[in-house]
Symmetry: C2
Amino acid sequence: MGVGIGMPGFIDFQKGINYTFLEIKDQTIIEYLTEEIKLPVYIDNDSSLIALAELRFGSVHHKKNVMVINIGWGVGLGLILNGELFRGHNGFAGEFSHIPIFDNNKLCECGKTGCLETETSLLVLIEKAAAGLKEGRLSSLPSNFPSDYYEQDYEAIIAAALKGDQFVVELFSESGYNIGRGIAILIHLLNPELIVLSGRGAAAGKIWEAPIQNAINKHCIPRLSSNTKIKVSTLGHDAELIGASVLVMENIEKNNTVIKNKTV
Amino acid sequence: MGVGIGMPGFIDFQKGINYTFLEIKDQTIIEYLTEEIKLPVYIDNDSSLIALAELRFGSVHHKKNVMVINIGWGVGLGLILNGELFRGHNGFAGEFSHIPIFDNNKLCECGKTGCLETETSLLVLIEKAAAGLKEGRLSSLPSNFPSDYYEQDYEAIIAAALKGDQFVVELFSESGYNIGRGIAILIHLLNPELIVLSGRGAAAGKIWEAPIQNAINKHCIPRLSSNTKIKVSTLGHDAELIGASVLVMENIEKNNTVIKNKTV
């Protein structure tokens, strides 16, 4: 029926443009693919799609104001406000990964320093694990860690975390606490009823909850934070795929309604 | 026709309760006043009302996604999202004043440390001015500064700023830069088309713009921030009053519609 694409980057969903990745001359990625595939094509930010999946089929179902955190190679955010996906003025809302909250002198890939992701993304977790092993920290991580493959390293740290490896659990706690500092800001600004931890990092499960709650306890006014629940998503890896298909279905439906109305 | 109240504090607009100020036994403030005045009474957070005033009669007119900053004794925020005032799950959204972004070991009145307002509110500005004068900084501030009256001190620093007093301009720049650091977070999260500086602090006028823009230039990704304009409100001191009357009119209208529909 159609093609839905989830990608990282600054994406204008209306215009079908990803300003960050894949430059195609004179055509948007949507125009190019529609021409080649002869099917309607839609694109949106990966974190927005994960939020859309949670909204229609996951933890957000029937809820109004929810923040969906996409723990992945960055730390994205999909905002559900008044029961709908909120995209902002240009479709760029939810740049949680780059809110400047650390004074850590670590250069982020965006060019700034101190962004949330410089202490919290799964990439940083893998880097910290590698550095710790080099310094002689004991861990059940495999001997070929870090490999040259992020995907393989990601699976290794998740497996170690689920087994309760102390060193890796420590890293997840630290990262979770720092994500929690960011979430404290979200709670103050947007007073959500629920925070959902989703994206590939959610595979580590409940291990995220305590350190995040810890940070909220320290950095939030209780009157506010007592109204917000924290939950780890159960959609797992599929969230983005489900979101991409929701994107297609909702837009095809909208277009059909427009066509029907025109016919009438 | 009715009474509209703007107050600081955690306010549930639906229930008519201010959880922070004025405890009235067994009755909400709304119930108490309605009984005494025999008119419909509505209450909302001061920053939300200022945003409502800007939305109906000020800089936000016909705009969709705008953050209205209430520079006052704290630094509040009214969020206009999708063309409407956004209040969050319990009506507590917009607690900009207490987002934790400084590592300054300054205790905030909320009980936490490092909140935005600990470096940026007009109260802090007055305190910093007083401390500077004590240390011998030259300034045209009146000899009785600080007086025992915040309102008088507020007028003194605004007058000095408008006259270009170097010491006071320096204080406004510092405060503006720090507000700008908070605004950088808002821009990343919500991708607004406009930031309006309102509330009593807006009386200092354009003096806010450069330091805020400076902070945005340093702390925001240009692709995002280039879509957001900064503007000082012209509603001035009246914003909150206008907002309170908008609150009354919109709710009386809603109630009348409900009554009409019932009659039909």
